[in-house]
């Protein structure tokens, strides 16, 4: 199967700091790839480079065969990105925000409205759809941001710590939506420190440390951990200890 995302030998420096050091990985349709690692490992930088917000110093990123660059809007349109710090237009309602996102994704107003209504319903935000974004709690804003990223049904979805701050019911809903999105032949790249959730949700786990890809686990390896009676957290702690 052709990879939907190809990250090839990507390096990124911020001054003297090497945020990413030649990392390579792929995501195929249907895959949920989890990026884990300590704070400052390079997870968010990797996502920012994939969606074209940052440019790599070296290496390449391809989405559905199309090279990611500042000017390549085709590649940009393939990506939905929910950044770690949620920011929405504060004086627009959820409905208006989703209408904007739908238009930017190229949907017709009618299709946008229909899609927005479905997402708001699924995320239990319908009741609050006419409230201003600034009146939303952090969790509600995060759910709305996820709806924004999903409105155009992007082939590649990037979620940066998107499960943080959600109540258990919302977290379960978002996880189900992530699985559904992947099941429709899309790929999801997810970063989180909630290792138990990552273990359950992801089909592939990549462990980053100091900008380097230390190890990766596919579904079989993850199942293998379970049969050994170990959790992803055990694996994370022991692997990082040896990496240091």
């Amino acid at each position: 199967m052709t990879p939907l995302l190809e990250v090839l030998d990507v390096t990124k420096r911020f001054g003297r700091l090497k945020a990413l050091d030649g990392i390579s990985f792929q995501a195929r349709p249907g895959e949920i790839v989890g990026l884990i690692g300590p704070n400052g490992a390079g997870k968010s930088t990797a996502q920012a480079i994939i969606c074209g917000e940052l440019l790599a110093d070296r290496g390449r990123v391809r989405i559905a065969g199309s090279e990611v660059s500042a000017a390549n809007m085709k590649a940009h349109r393939q990506v939905g990105h929910v950044p770690q710090r949620i920011v929405l237009f504060p004086f627009l309602t959820a409905n208006e925000i989703l209408a904007l996102a739908a238009e930017l994704s190229g949907l017709t107003p009618a299709a946008g409205r229909e899609r927005a209504a479905k997402l708001l319903d699924a995320l239990e935000l319908s009741e609050h759809s006419d409230r201003l974004a600034r009146e939303y709690s952090e969790g509600m804003a995060r759910k709305l941001a996820i709806a924004v990223a999903l409105v155009g049904a992007p082939p590649l979805l990037l979620l940066d710590e998107s499960l943080n701050g959600l109540d258990p019911q919302s977290s379960a809903t978002v996880q189900r939506m992530i699985e559904d999105h992947a099941a429709q032949g899309n790929a999801v790249i997810l970063t989180s420190h909630l290792l138990w959730t990552m273990e359950r949700l992801c089909t592939k786990i990549l462990l980053l440390h100091q900008g380097r890809l230390v190890d990766s686990l596919d579904r079989d390896a993850l199942n293998g951990l379970r049969t050994e009676g170990r959790t992803l957290e055990d694996y994370y702690l022991t692997t990082l200890k040896s990496a240091r």
């Binding site: 969606c51 950044p83 949620i86 309602t93």
Partner: protein
């Protein structure tokens, strides 16, 4: 450490903090082209203000009485503009400026916060005094004695108005703590603002205090214009100004000490739940209709930005309407010669660039476009810039049209009308594009070269033809 958890005399720490912040900001800015543009840019602006001042001078061969009258009118208009800007600006410095908000959560004593805000008020408005001095400087050719008198009045008004702003805005803040009242309901009628009603009016009150002082000082200083004039009234006026400043500052300091933290908390609440949330959310706003003419994604971005801005800053539009009306009336009522009127109008339109810069500053600011918003929505840069510029122009266009229409009715000169329209639109475009360019350089996001060139060419052409 005091019992109330506050540490006194921390203003030195705040001063050091501000100095450090400035140093670091300069270090970051120092990497780009901006510092190289700053000196010539400021020089150019100074020269432009001086030339504007020159253009608006009355003819030197007027009879002494008429010359004094014309100079008094000129000085009054300039000081009125300054008082207006200080009225609105002092509110922002006190309540909304990042300097005020980022210290609020830290355990500084109220006195230190007061000293910090007092310094910030005068620092923020220092460029206004410099601009006024440059506009008045050409007086030296016509009436050197008048220059000294005018500058003395300007300085006293400049010293007094921020202090009055500090006092009146703090009083309005204290009124927030006292809930609603019959008077507030009356003032807030139609706007459903109740407890925050006085805050809506405090910038206008500052303007009124500043302007009243300007009128009285002009009267007090008038005898000095003649060589045998009495200095007594001017001295009394000066003394009264300093007494008033001391009174404003001391009473504000007492109010700060008693209530500042509570005011901030209540103000935050008032900002959090905007008054109109008590009624239905406005879904149709001024300048929404042109969106129908645009195609996606410009249409969506224009609408979203417009709603975002108008719901947050409703009073901006009121200012546009008032300024348009006042300038229209000025054109009809003035007794200035036609040539001078054209020059005055051109200057007013160039000053109205501030009306364009206000919305564009707000649209790109942290509050309405928080950093990271682009990461989520991923709007195309060209459409985003176009939407912002168009929205900014919708603020300024009524003013340009009013000035041109007023001038047209008064003089029946279509060429002049056309020139004023070109100057207004061109200056608005140029100012907003330059602002976005400078901002874009900082954030690394700006239009592609071709769009950039086309926009700037149009703006420059309009300004040049207009000039």
């Amino acid at each position: 450490m005091r019992g109330d958890g506050e540490r006194r005399g921390m203003w030195r720490v705040i001063v050091r903090l501000r100095a450090l912040e400035r140093k670091n900001r300069l270090r970051v800015a120092g990497r780009g082209l901006l510092p190289w543009l700053l000196v010539p840019g400021l020089g150019g602006l100074g020269a432009a203000l001086f030339m504007l001042g020159q253009t608006t001078l009355p003819p030197a061969d007027l009879p002494p009485e008429a010359l004094a009258e014309a100079l008094a009118e000129r000085g009054y208009l300039l000081r009125a503009a300054m008082c207006f800007l200080i009225g609105a600006g002092s509110f922002e410095v006190l309540y909304r400026a990042r300097g005020a908000t980022n210290l609020a959560a830290l355990p500084f004593d109220s006195r230190s916060l007061f000293i910090d805000r007092l310094g910030a008020l005068y620092l923020a408005h220092l460029p206004l005094l410099a601009a006024l001095a440059l506009l008045q400087a050409p007086l030296i050719e016509v009436a050197p004695r008048a220059l000294a008198v005018e500058f003395a009045i300007d300085s006293l008004v400049w010293l007094l108005t921020p202090a009055a702003g500090l006092w009146l805005h703090t009083l309005a803040g204290v009124s927030l703590l006292r809930g609603t009242s019959l008077i507030k309901e009356f003032f807030g009628a139609g706007m459903r603002v109740d407890s925050a009603a006085l805050m809506l009016y405090s910038p206008a009150a500052v303007f009124a205090v500043g302007l009243s002082a300007a009128i009285l000082l002009a009267q007090a200083f008038r005898p000095l214009l003649s060589s045998s004039g009495q200095a007594g009234p001017a001295l009394v006026g000066t003394l009264l100004v300093f007494t008033a400043i001391a009174g404003f500052v001391l009473h504000s300091a007492a109010l700060f000490k008693r209530s500042w933290r509570a005011i901030r908390a209540r103000f935050r609440e008032a900002e959090m739940l905007p008054p109109w949330r008590e009624g239905p959310l406005p879904v149709r706003v001024y300048a929404q209709s042109p969106a129908r003419l645009f195609s996606p994604p410009l249409r969506g971005l224009y609408l979203a930005m417009l709603l975002n801005l108008r719901r947050r800053h409703r009073l901006d539009l009121m200012f546009t309407v008032l300024a348009s009306g006042a300038l229209f009336w000025f054109n009809l009522a003035t007794t200035l010669p036609l040539d001078a009127l054209l020059a005055w109008n051109a200057m007013l339109l160039l000053l109205a660039v501030a009306v364009v810069l206000t919305p564009i500053y707000r649209l790109t600011g942290r509050e309405l476009s928080p950093p990271g918003c682009d990461a989520l929505f991923r709007p195309p840069a060209a459409a985003l810039t176009t939407a912002r510029v168009l929205i900014a122009l919708t603020h300024q266009l009524p003013i340009t049209i009013s000035v041109a229409a007023g001038y047209g009715i008064k003089t029946a000169q279509p060429v002049g009308v056309l020139l004023l329209l070109m100057i207004g639109v061109g200056a608005g475009l140029l100012a907003s594009l330059l602002y976005l360019w400078i901002r874009g350089r900082r954030s690394g996001a700006w239009l592609p070269w071709a769009n950039r060139g086309a926009w700037l060419l149009v703006a420059l052409t309009l300004v040049l033809i207009g000039s």
